[in-house]
């Protein structure tokens, strides 16, 4: 009871270049549509009593997935299996008729949910009590506020504990009081063994309610992990998108994509920010990170320096260095050589925020001598705070705190408390 098994589930919508093409297809004049996949190769299992959050940006396929699982739309590929009775609360309401009273609609919804009429009658008072809409229950639903509709809908949908409860973002409409109340009921159901599938944009709700979270992106499962891990990943993803947006915005504002200047004896082909070998636009502060510059030498140069500069979103220099200072300059490079230089940061300790990366190729110490290529704001990236103590500012220095007392004889501070995480381990031998 209550299990859910999803295998290779996919949903594609047909798109016709012209409406008449569909008719042509119907009468057998060949296929004329292309398919638009909104959900693809989704695989996951939910054990009975497990609570799973579905997260993802708008258009990631969350609602489509829930609609498939509730059976309102038919999958294009794959299949799923549910154990037991499924109750779903999709979008607003559950198909209430505006002209009928709350009570009549409850009865109707009960029929749709497969609750026998006799049971509905006995449940009615409880449904009314939970919805707390008072005398409105005998008024037409059209006179209800959207919050009242949700209250009533939720009360009916959860009047009988289902084996699987599927909740779309419906609850976000209700007021704080009712949200608490409905979360309590959901939690109760979960404790009694109801499997929960929960779509939400509220990280707090997912974290407190769910044992697991599935991150969807462009119709695919990107992450199936603990709520914390999936949410972190999701936040980084959003940040990356925001960064991309910012780049586009910057492009629009300045009217040019980037500032390139230089004499082109050597030129930068590509700049990438890598995290565990994967190009990223968003990373956690403290992640091990590599800046990789791919370059091409067009004419033989006697001395080649590669440099990087990180700026914050206001354009202030945050950090910069080059191969000259790191003692890694190349000399007598032949023309036509393509090479890669990497700047490796074991711990990229920037504070949360948006930054840009500028790279340059030149000779000797500074680029003013002979500047081969200067690529301003080549990459804009986002740094996301890692879980841990909150710090502000552009750098995320490793820090710990401890309380001390003044030793009266020596006038030297003497620690009286332990050192706070997270760097206690590193400082361990001091105490």
């Amino acid at each position: 009871m209550g299990y859910l098994r999803v295998r290779d589930l996919g949903k594609a919508y047909k798109r016709y270049p012209h409406k008449w093409r569909r008719l042509a297809e119907w009468v057998g004049l060949g296929a004329h549509h292309d398919v638009n996949w909104v959900l693809r190769d989704v695989n996951f299992d939910v054990a009975p009593g497990e609570a799973v959050g579905i997260i993802g940006a708008n258009g990631a396929g969350k609602s489509t997935l829930l609609k498939l699982l509730t059976g309102t739309i038919r999958p294009t590929t794959g299949a799923f299996e549910t154990g037991g009775r499924v109750a779903a609360l999709l979008e607003l309401g559950i198909g209430f008729h505006p002209e009928f009273t709350g009570r009549q609609n409850v009865r109707m919804a009960g029929h749709i949910l497969g609750i026998p009429s006799e049971s509905i009658d006995s449940l009615m008072s409880e449904i009314e009590a939970f919805a707390e809409i008072g005398d409105y229950v005998d008024q037409p639903v059209r006179t209800y506020s959207s919050g009242m509709q949700v209250r009533l809908a939720f009360s009916v949908a959860t009047a009988v504990r289902p084996d699987i409860l599927i909740v779309d973002e419906a609850l976000s409409v209700g007021d704080a009081y009712f949200q608490h109340k409905s979360f309590d009921r959901i939690r109760q159901f979960r404790d009694l063994g109801t499997t929960l599938l929960f779509v939400s944009h509220s990280p707090a709700a997912v974290k407190t309610l769910c044992d697991r979270a599935i991150l969807l992106d462009h119709g695919q499962v990107l992450r199936d992990d603990s709520p914390d891990a999936a949410l972190d990943y999701y936040n980084a993803m959003i940040a990356a998108q925001r960064a991309d947006y910012q780049i586009r915005q910057t492009e629009a504002e300045t009217g040019r994509t980037t500032t390139r200047s230089g004499t082109a004896e050597a030129s930068i082909v590509d700049i990438e920010l890598l995290c565990v070998g994967v190009p990223v636009r968003a990373l956690h502060s403290g992640d091990s990170t590599t800046v990789r510059i791919t370059l091409e030498v067009r004419a033989a140069v006697a001395d080649l320096t590669a440099g990087i500069l990180i700026r914050d979103r206001f354009g202030n220099d945050i950090f910069g260095t080059n191969t000259f200072h790191l003692g890694m300059n190349r000399t007598n490079v032949a023309a036509g050589e393509r090479m890669i230089v990497e700047f490796v940061f074991p711990s990229f300790d920037l504070g949360a925020g948006s930054y840009s990366l500028t790279a340059a190729l030149h000779s000797h110490e500074v680029h003013t001598a002979s500047n081969f290529d200067w690529w301003d704001r080549a990459v804009v990236f986002q740094v996301v705070r890692k879980s841990g103590p909150l710090t502000i500012g552009v750098c995320a220095l490793q820090v710990a705190a401890r309380w001390c007392a003044l030793d009266e004889e020596t006038a030297a501070p003497r620690p009286v408390s332990g050192t706070s995480p997270p760097v206690r381990e590193k400082l361990g031998n001091e105490n």
Binding site: I73, E99, Q104, H111, I112
Partner: protein
């Protein structure tokens, strides 16, 4: 799975279907003060108008029927069946589109919706028919026992209407033009059927064309039952029955092939 599943699913939702039919019936007149009155007033008004306007003109066209109510009875017999027929078609054509909100939110057997239309259409029909029968009793021409022959005729009308309705209703999800054109085409169909005018008044040349109209034998059958108090030749219903069967099949095939895409398109 789908073949037997369609009807079994609908049976599981009989509670929903029953409640919807009641609700559908009530909702037509909900929000009005006179409620039930409107359920009968509209057909009554139409019958009254046709009777007053055409009775004088048509009287000579119904030879052999001396009763001053002959034309009214002739007219009512036809209009009652036509109203059932056109009501079912018009509402089935729109049924999936109009219930988009429900179909998108709740997992229902979609075929339950046209079933609801058929049942609630029959309920309205029953109310108006009761009125007509009361009229027949009061003027002393209740066609007993020939009236029993009307039952299969009603079944035939429903089959014809639902076959066409489900087919057009499915297409309408993808081409909304269907809904727009249906009521217009039904008007042509109404006047191409001898309901207001007697079949004998149709010129020979037109009659051969009108013979293709499957609704003509049905109406003509009912008119004979009510006017002459006898069941006419049953063989006249063979052609409409075949058409109804073909349309039902067409409707179900279209529905089965496209039902998966219906919600996608709503």
């Amino acid at each position: 799975m789908l073949r037997t599943g369609l009807l079994r699913e609908c049976w599981q939702f009989r509670g929903f279907i029953g409640a919807s039919v009641r609700r559908d019936f009530v909702s037509r007149y909900l929000g009005t003060q006179l409620g039930w009155f409107w359920a009968v007033a509209q057909p009554l008004a139409m019958i009254l108008i046709y009777t007053l306007v055409f009775a004088e003109i048509m009287k000579p066209a119904l030879p052999g029927h001396e009763s001053k109510f002959a034309y009214s009875i002739y007219l009512c017999a036809g209009i009652l069946l036509w109203q059932l027929f056109s009501d079912l078609i018009i509402r089935s054509v729109a049924v999936f589109v109009h219930n988009a909100g429900l179909l998108k939110k709740v997992n229902l057997p979609k075929l339950a919706l046209p079933i609801i239309v058929a049942l609630s259409g029959l309920a309205s029909f029953a109310v108006v028919s009761a009125l007509f029968l009361a009229f027949l009793v009061s003027v002393g021409s209740f066609p007993w026992p020939a009236i029993l022959a009307i039952v299969p005729v009603v079944v035939l009308v429903v089959a014809l209407a639902m076959g066409l309705g489900v087919f057009l209703g499915t297409i309408n999800v993808f081409y909304r033009d269907v809904e727009q054109s249906t009521s217009m085409l039904l008007q042509f169909w109404f006047w191409l059927t001898p309901i207001v005018y007697p079949g004998r008044a149709v010129p020979e040349a037109f009659a051969t064309v009108l013979a293709w109209n499957p609704f003509w034998p049905i109406v003509s059958f009912a008119q004979t039952v009510f006017l002459d108090n006898r069941a006419p030749d049953w063989s006249s219903l063979v052609y409409p029955t075949l058409v109804a069967a073909a349309l039902l099949l067409l409707g179900l095939v279209a529905f089965r092939r496209l039902s998966g895409e219906i919600v996608d398109e709503l």
